[in-house]
């Protein structure tokens, strides 16, 4: 519907101002590009990482990014943080996507517009909680709990660039 209106507007411009064909084509591309950008703006891309926090160093395991390590280590007692899995989710406006982070842990993420996301955490098919918040670039939503031994699990969600 929006594209029809844009095309109609472009045709009107062409008739009224005697625009040449090249200018008309550029105008058409401009309006079409705007529509594509606006359509993209409604979707959201997120990174969901499953992280293990532990006091023991695990050789060969992938460490989390410096940014995440710094933030988690500032709050929690564990020194080492390893990224067990990472999923990139691109969710259209008002859509929901489910992602399995481990055999038992999975998340269901809903895009509620304007960077507001709703994340539901499931363990073994049972929903534990649902967290809803606006997630801006450079910000993190963390769901965490204890794991075996002196370790903890973290699900770190952030907006991907």
């Amino acid at each position: 519907m929006a594209n029809e209106l844009e095309t109609s507007f472009a045709m009107t411009l062409l008739r009224r101002h005697n625009m040449n064909q090249l200018a008309f084509l550029l105008a058409l591309l401009f309006f079409a590009g705007g529509g594509w950008v606006s359509a993209q703006a409604d979707s959201i891309s997120l990174n969901a990482r499953l992280v293990l926090g532990t006091g023991k160093e695990k050789q060969g395991s992938k460490k989390v990014s410096e940014s995440i390590h710094k933030r988690l280590a500032k709050v929690f007692k564990w020194v080492h943080y390893y990224q067990l899995s990472s999923k990139k989710l691109t969710i259209e406006d008002a859509k929901t996507m489910t992602s399995k982070l481990s055999k038992n842990a999975s998340i269901k993420v809903s895009n509620q517009k304007n960077s507001k996301v709703s994340v539901s955490l499931f363990s073994g098919g049972k929903m534990l909680l649902q967290k809803t918040q606006t997630l801006r670039s450079g910000h993190y939503m963390v769901l965490a709990g204890k794991s075996t031994g002196d370790s903890a699990w973290f699900i770190v969600l952030s907006k991907s660039n």
Partner: protein, 171 residues
């Protein structure tokens, strides 16, 4: 009594300021003294001339009426003063509490009306965080960093993610 004093007495006689006995004694003395007689005659003539030449200045109103008006004005002012007598204790109490109350209310109203709209500093508060738990058995703690760049929900729920992850990886 010297001569000057006697002449002053004659002047007082002409002005009618002497008592009866004083005036009688002085008149006898004037009759015996030619100089005093001449002074008495000239002073009497002078007084007559002055009295005749003086312009009459009648009061616009009679004296009684004039003083009555003054008395009425005084009475009126006194009764007005009585009407503005101190208020009764109840009204005084009301005034004591009502006046500051009205004053404070006026100031508050003025400040409210003049309150500028909050400037937009581009700060988003973390009031949009919502958390729903599916089970009351799970205890949770929430934590937000000072700059709101990281929100944490800590669940009292244990998961063996290493084993789970390995099983997922083997799948």
């Amino acid at each position: 009594m010297n001569r000057n004093e006697i002449e002053l007495k004659v002047q007082a006689l002409v002005d009618g300021e002497l008592t009866g006995s004083e005036a009688e004694a002085l008149r006898q003395r004037i009759n015996d003294d030619a100089g005093l007689q001449q002074l008495h005659v000239s002073l009497t003539q002078m007084r007559g001339l002055i009295a005749d030449s003086e312009l009459p200045r009648p009061l616009p109103e009679s004296g009684d009426f004039y003083w009555n008006k003054i008395a009425e004005t005084i009475e009126r002012e006194e009764s007005a003063g009585e009407r503005a007598a101190p208020p009764t204790p109840a009204s005084r109490w009301l005034l004591r509490w009502l006046t500051p109350l009205v004053g404070v209310s006026a100031v508050v109203l003025l400040l409210t009306l003049q309150q500028p709209t909050a400037p937009d500093l581009g700060i988003m508060l973390s009031g949009d965080h919502e958390l729903e738990l599916s089970s009351d058995e799970i205890d949770v703690m929430t934590y937000n960093t000072d700059d709101d760049s990281m929100s944490i929900v800590w669940l009292d729920y244990s998961m063996d993610i290493q084993k789970d992850y390995m099983e997922l990886w083997l799948d």
